[in-house]
Amino acid sequence: MLKKMKSNEKMKQLMTNYYMMGFASEHVSWITSGAPVEILYAMDIYPFYPENHSALFGAAKQGTYYAEVAEKLGFSRDLCSYARCDIGCVVSSVNVPNPTFLFACNNICNTVVKWYEVLSRIYKVPLFFLDTPFVRKELKENYIRYVHDQLVEFIDFAEKITGKELSDLKLRKTLQLALKGVKAYKDALLMGRNKPSPLTAFDAFINMAPIVCLRGTEYPINFYEEMKLELEDRVKKGIAAVDDEKIRLLWDNIPIWYRLKWLGEFFASRNTCIVADTYTNAWSWMIVKDKSNVLESLAETYIFIYLNVGIEHMAKAINDLVNIYDVDGVVIHSNRSCKPYSFGQYEIQKMIEVPSVVIEADMVDERVFSEAQIVTRLEAFLEMLK
């Protein structure tokens, strides 16, 4: 019933090559999804993303198994399931590129700080932690200065470990590529504005890995341009992602990876299309403004990231998406694994301009998913929207 995109296959190839590249690289940095990867690519340091790796395992329904491995070591079941799955993989010797060093940035959560401290003790490699103040209201000058100074320190740290030098020119070039990649990505996602939409948020989730992992290289630019062409072709031919699209929705929070297909079918069979989501759109915030001081621009961009801002900013972003994609309602995933993404959702609910429903689950840990409860909630919500 689900209409698979051709891009899915290309994405698989691209990501297989990306993972292979890691094993062939001299220097590998494990990195959090919100950290400025551009610096690594500019220095030919390979970035490995444990979050992406855990999402992959989650989608393959192996996440719970590895999470349980970590739990046997004493890691609480209430901790982030990306972290548990990753730690489980590491101690089970799942084949991943070994880190030369670790690079964590808390602009997505403070969980990554603790998670990477754990990794640093296991691998006995240095950890650089980039500390980004939280922008509950306004972004202050002293925040930018603080992050800027740390970026200078990070470059020094990476240069010392790898013996490589960061060239200013190469960094600017990498930032240009990142900018193009983000634009191409955004354009592909925006195809969801069409009525009916040629893609669902589930297609977006499946195909988000390149913008996360390869941002700053040529790959995502080509990939998302092709993905957009495929979607344009669908629109031309009158192919909708969901037959007889009647309801358009927005998804909030990280996907429930092990239920992507199930949820996709659930909505499609009810003529409902989730046309966009806040998770994949978070990467469209990563546009580094071209200022004369590159590191200052980088600092500003990476402080003002979707998860590192207050509820008012988040509600505004959601309302913007509601309007851009012209949706009838919002499905809010209250994700037990992600406190900074989930706490505040009850207030946000009151601030958004369309009806919404909250479902409680977890992004990787299947044991938390209560199918009957979620079906009841979603069905009642769709009924109300009709």
């Binding site: 070591l73 004493g74 890691f75 609480s76 209430d78 901790l79 982030c80 972290a83 808390n106 959560c109 403070n110 969980t111 700080v113 603790k114 998670w115 401290e117 754990v118 003790r121 932690f129 500390d131 103040p133 939280f134 509950r136 209201k137 202050k140 002293n142 925040y143 200065r145 603080y146 100074d149 740390q150 320190e153 207050g310 509820i311 008012e312 209250s334 037990r336 406190k339 900074p340 989930s342 706490f343 505040g344 959702q345 009850y346 207030e347 409680e360």
Partner: protein, 325 residues
């Protein structure tokens, strides 16, 4: 005006110097009902319980939320919207090093500005006095806890002006420790006094590494002469980065683990007293436990949400047996 705070990295000296009363907000055993409409059940009981209190009745007019964990970071917004109180987010750095100290100085200046916006007045004299008084209070509390921890007293003095707190200390009698095997109780916040009492009831002599215990008053004091408000800001930054290590912060060279291991040296066992859903502590727990066991310490984990005292007593008694045999 009474200004509340939840995290003990909040520079209370500034609040006191501004002419306000710094009040520590702690959950109690009030059942959670109103707060459930504002925050999910997978937030720790300190966050939910404090919000519950605020939604029912609390003698606080404004709250400073100091950056520590993800839950408190988000709670600031929720609190502001749900209670209509004045709320300010004080961005204490998560990373503790020389670069972040400079940032902290600028954030302290920003907090001072905010307190003045709220109607306070911070002068060099008032700030210098608050700094001196807090140092006196903390040194005294350390002496008391060294002899025998008094959590009731500690909770009480956190609800009053520092001057009154010092008077409170003067009028009390020092209690003597009953002895018994020594344990280190390490963890986050334990807002339940009856839980703290259990360890002693069972026969332990207690040393703690808790945010509601010695971490409230354990600092290194910078040696510097204070000549201006700016000097005082720098002093406070120095003082607060030297505060007893907390897992919500990132330190060079695993300083927190080193501190806990050091504290555990003369103890017969270690109890991890953690609030359910407290991510920073639960991430540290498995590796720290392993290191403690490597130096021969017996370890017990107690996870608190809605504590059932008799159940906890049984577990602590069993731990006592393990240590005694």
């Amino acid at each position: 005006m009474r200004v509340g705070y939840l995290c003990t990295f909040t520079p209370k000296e500034l609040i006191d110097a501004a002419g306000f009363t710094p009040v520590r907000i702690l959950a109690d055993s009030t059942p959670i009902s109103l707060a459930s409409a504002h925050i999910q059940s997978y937030a720790c009981i300190q966050a939910r319980g404090s919000l519950e209190k605020a939604l029912r009745k609390i003698d606080v007019d404004a709250v400073v939320f100091t950056r520590s964990c993800d839950t408190l970071m988000r709670l600031a917004d929720i609190w502001e919207i749900a209670t209509k109180m004045k709320v300010y987010s004080f961005e204490f750095p998560t990373k503790i090093d020389s670069t972040s100290k400079n940032f902290l100085i600028s954030e302290i200046a920003e907090l001072a500005k905010k307190l003045e916006e709220w109607g306070g007045k911070i002068t060099f004299d008032s700030l210098k006095e608050s700094i001196e008084l807090y140092k006196l209070l903390e040194v005294e509390l350390a002496k008391i806890f060294d002899e025998k921890p008094d959590y009731e007293l500690l909770f009480k003095v956190q609800q009053m002006k520092v001057k009154d707190a010092l008077n409170e200390l003067k009028s009390r009698e020092q209690k003597k420790s009953k002895g018994g095997p020594k344990i280190l109780v390490t963890g986050s916040v334990c807002p339940f006094l009856d839980v703290m009492k259990l360890f002693e009831d069972v026969g332990f002599s207690v040393k703690d590494d808790l945010c509601t215990g010695t971490r409230f008053f354990t600092f290194k004091y910078p040696e510097m002469e204070l000549r201006s408000v700016e000097d005082c800001f720098r002093y406070l930054a120095e003082k607060y980065v030297s505060k007893a290590e907390c897992p919500t912060k990132h330190y060079e060279k695993d300083r927190r683990f080193e501190r806990v291991l050091e504290l555990a040296k003369d103890c017969d066992g270690v109890v991890f007293l953690l609030l359910k859903f407290c991510d920073p502590h639960f991430f540290d727990y498995p590796q720290l436990k392993q290191k403690l066991e490597e130096i021969g310490k017996k370890v017990l984990l107690l996870e608190l949400e809605f504590p059932v005292i008799e159940q906890l007593r049984t577990r602590i008694e069993a731990f006592y047996e393990v240590i005694m045999c």
